[in-house]
């Protein structure tokens, strides 16, 4: 049960190795969170993430979860909710994809879409139902600034986030008044550590296509001046999420200035937008 300031006691992170997911979990554990469920594909990285949170004093449990296997979501995630109330579900999985490869390999592009959008639709709905049944809690979905307007440089990833963003907004409206709070978080390009980004990319290009690395931006190849100025870090996103929970916000931009920038970008004529160095 959340307290008067919106600090959750228990959270479920979908995408248990996501840098943003873990940064948020660390932050909330420092406040009130005691029970953390990490959902992700079983891997040494997931076990390591669980141990790192346990070291902070939380009761951490791991649940196997694969975004690409929607049939299993109801059973796997449903089990989490039978163990006790979940105050916060953080939907943090997603793959950045590789634009050049995805354009030449439609199946690779489809996998990005299936992970980021289809998988999130199924997992999001399962969690929304469970939250509605318990009558309280927050569902926080990590969208991306890339979903706000498709760019030449990453429109496969961007379109999947655009779909997720629209889905989340609709879900938020559907759950309005039920006691469940839905929040869209739109970070700018997230500067993860260089090594983390490299490994995320290596994995993303692997044959198995691992899931749940969080929306690590692959922007370096095309990072323009505007984007670089509005880049952010997992810790900054975590801070924004905590503040959003306190305020019960519906949309959170990280950094906040993106709200203004993207309003301009959204209305920019396409011939001009095409020529922007971003």
């Amino acid at each position: 049960m959340k307290d008067a300031f919106g600090a959750p006691q228990s959270l479920l992170v979908l995408g248990g190795t996501s840098a943003i997911g873990l940064a948020t979990a660390r932050r909330l554990i420092a406040r009130r969170a005691r029970t953390v469920w990490l959902a992700g594909r079983p891997s040494p990285a997931l076990a390591e993430a669980a141990d790192s949170l346990r070291a902070l004093g939380a009761d951490v449990r791991v649940v196997p979860f694969d975004a690409l296997d929607p049939e299993s979501h109801a059973e796997r995630l449903g089990k989490v909710f039978t163990e006790g109330d979940i105050d916060l579900v953080l939907l943090a999985f997603g793959v950045p994809g590789d634009q050049a490869r995805d354009e030449s390999d439609p199946l690779a592009a489809v996998r990005v879409a299936q992970t980021n959008y289809t998988g999130a639709v199924s997992a999001g709905l399962v969690c929304a139902q469970a939250l509605q049944a318990q009558g309280h809690g927050s569902l926080v979905v990590l969208s991306s600034v890339a979903g706000e307007r498709a760019r030449r440089a990453d429109f496969v990833y961007g379109s999947s986030k655009a779909g997720l963003d629209a889905f989340t907004q609709g879900l938020g409206d559907a759950l309005y008044g039920t006691g469940v709070h839905v929040m869209v978080v739109r970070p700018g390009s997230v500067r993860a550590r260089a090594s983390a980004r490299a490994s995320a990319r290596a994995k993303a290009s692997g044959a198995e296509g691992p899931v749940s690395e969080g929306p690590v931006s692959e922007g370096s190849a095309s990072e323009g001046p505007v984007e670089a100025a509005l880049a952010t870090t997992p810790e900054a996103v975590a801070t924004a999420i905590e503040l959003g929970l306190r305020r019960r916000s519906e949309t959170v931009w990280v950094p906040g200035a993106l709200r203004v920038v993207m309003t301009a970008v959204r209305h920019m004529p396409r011939p001009l937008f095409r020529r922007l160095p971003m």
Partner: protein, 424 residues
């Protein structure tokens, strides 16, 4: 949300709805600041439909009434007969059931104890649909008084009343220049007043921290009345300004000072009963969680005055309090397992803080640590933010309460957001 109108409907509601996945909790007038009467996703039994005052024994001073009767209505009914509710919390918008379930206390705690000390018996609807009669001395009684509705829904209460000659209070006011002076005046042996409460000026800092107005009062005897009110000594007079006023901190503080008419020192001034007993009525209608205020109410035992001084000092230094703090004295506690008044004599302090002031959660967590280290406690009935790990330390009766609750209600039919949050 269900609003049963008879005890039979309440039984049916518990049997049919309470056994759902999310349980049920009873609610009175819903004025508490915390989440003790909220039940997300589950059923709330609004018991304000049970409004019968069943019997009044005007000779012995006993009343049998439904749990949904408000203290205001009870006072209206009883005062003309020369009887008064023995313990009055700071607001009269409390049902009798709510007063028992939170074991409310008043400014007369050293003399009168808390509400449950005056309860002769109560009827409790438990999870199995049975109605049990609990009397003082029974474990069920101890768990239910102050039990925050987690043992069941209280359906009716037999209450012992306090005889009064008039509907006025005789009020003495004095000023304390600082914290030490305040405590010394509070415990000064020369005073024999029934009610004592202090309004602490939280705008004062430094050496003046703890500057306060001390209000002592007794029920005025008939002889002490001014001649013009001697014809109607027991008429219930309204007290103070109308409610619902805008709530900026400064305005609230100013009005609170005006309302209590406690600004000037004086002795023997008559004040209507309600104006003295229920200073928070009207003024604080907007307060509470939805009004954007967090109530912080703590108690420490005697000997822990230093911890209390630090807490008051830190709240004053932070400078965000909405209105004055209220300091009370506690006498011996009742038997309630989760009752707020601490085991022995001690002090109670309460203040409203605007929830929007940044970092308040963390600040109050630090104060909690301070209070817990001093063996004190936070009042659960008004709480919406306590860290679960501290509850067991603050309430030694919690273990016994949990055992009793597990035996009485194995399916956890009676459950509230507070119980979920703190793992009661």
């Amino acid at each position: 949300m269900l609003r049963p109108r008879t005890p039979e409907e309440a039984v049916a509601a518990v049997l049919s709805y309470g056994h759902g996945a999310r349980g049920a909790i009873a609610r009175g007038l819903g004025r508490a600041h915390g989440d003790a009467a909220q039940n997300a996703g589950g059923t709330v039994l609004d018991l304000t439909g049970l409004t019968r005052i069943r019997a009044v024994d005007a000779v012995a001073g006993l009343v049998v009434c439904d749990a949904g009767v408000g203290l205001h209505r009870l006072t209206q009914a009883l005062l003309p007969l020369g009887w008064c509710v023995p313990v009055a919390p700071a607001t009269r918008h409390v049902t009798v059931g709510g007063a028992v379930a939170t074991d409310v206390h008043g400014a007369n705690h050293p003399a009168a104890g808390s509400f449950s000390r005056h309860v002769v018996s109560l009827d409790l609807l438990t999870a199995d649909g049975q109605v049990h009669t609990a009397v003082p001395g029974m474990p069920l009684f101890d768990a239910t008084t102050g039990g925050l509705g987690l043992t069941g829904a209280i359906l009716s209460v037999t209450l012992r009343l306090l005889p009064v000659e008039t509907a006025l209070m005789r009020v003495d006011t004095e000023r304390a220049t600082g914290f030490d002076d305040l405590l010394a005046r509070f415990t000064a042996p020369c005073h024999r007043h029934r009610h004592t409460v202090a309004r602490v000026d939280l705008l004062a800092r430094g050496a003046a921290t703890g500057r306060a107005v001390l209000v002592r009062a007794d029920h005025a005897p008939y002889d002490a009345l001014p001649p013009r009110v001697r014809r109607t000594p027991l008429a219930l007079r309204p007290g103070g300004l109308p409610g619902g006023l805008p709530g900026s901190a400064g305005v609230a503080a100013l009005l609170d000072g005006l309302r209590s008419r406690a600004g000037r020192p004086g002795t023997g001034r008559p004040l209507p009963l309600a104006a003295f007993l229920h200073p928070r009525d009207g003024l604080l209608r907007g307060h509470g969680r939805r009004g954007g205020f967090v109530r912080y109410e703590v108690a420490v035992g005697d000997g822990q005055e230093e911890a209390l001084r630090r807490v008051v000092g830190r709240i004053a230094a932070r400078g965000r309090a909405a209105g004055p703090g209220v300091l009370k004295r506690f006498g011996e506690a009742g038997p309630g397992l989760l009752s707020f008044p601490p085991a022995g004599p001690g002090w109670g302090f309460a203040v409203d803080l605007p929830a929007s002031s940044g970092g308040l959660g963390r600040f109050l967590d630090e104060l909690d640590e301070e209070i817990a280290a001093a063996g004190g406690r936070v009042r659960l009935a008004e709480d919406a933010r306590l860290r679960p790990g501290l509850v067991a330390a603050m309430y030694p009766g919690l273990g016994e309460f949990r055992e009793l609750r597990a035996a009485l209600d194995p399916g956890a039919v009676f459950v509230s957001d507070l119980a979920r949050r703190l793992g009661l």
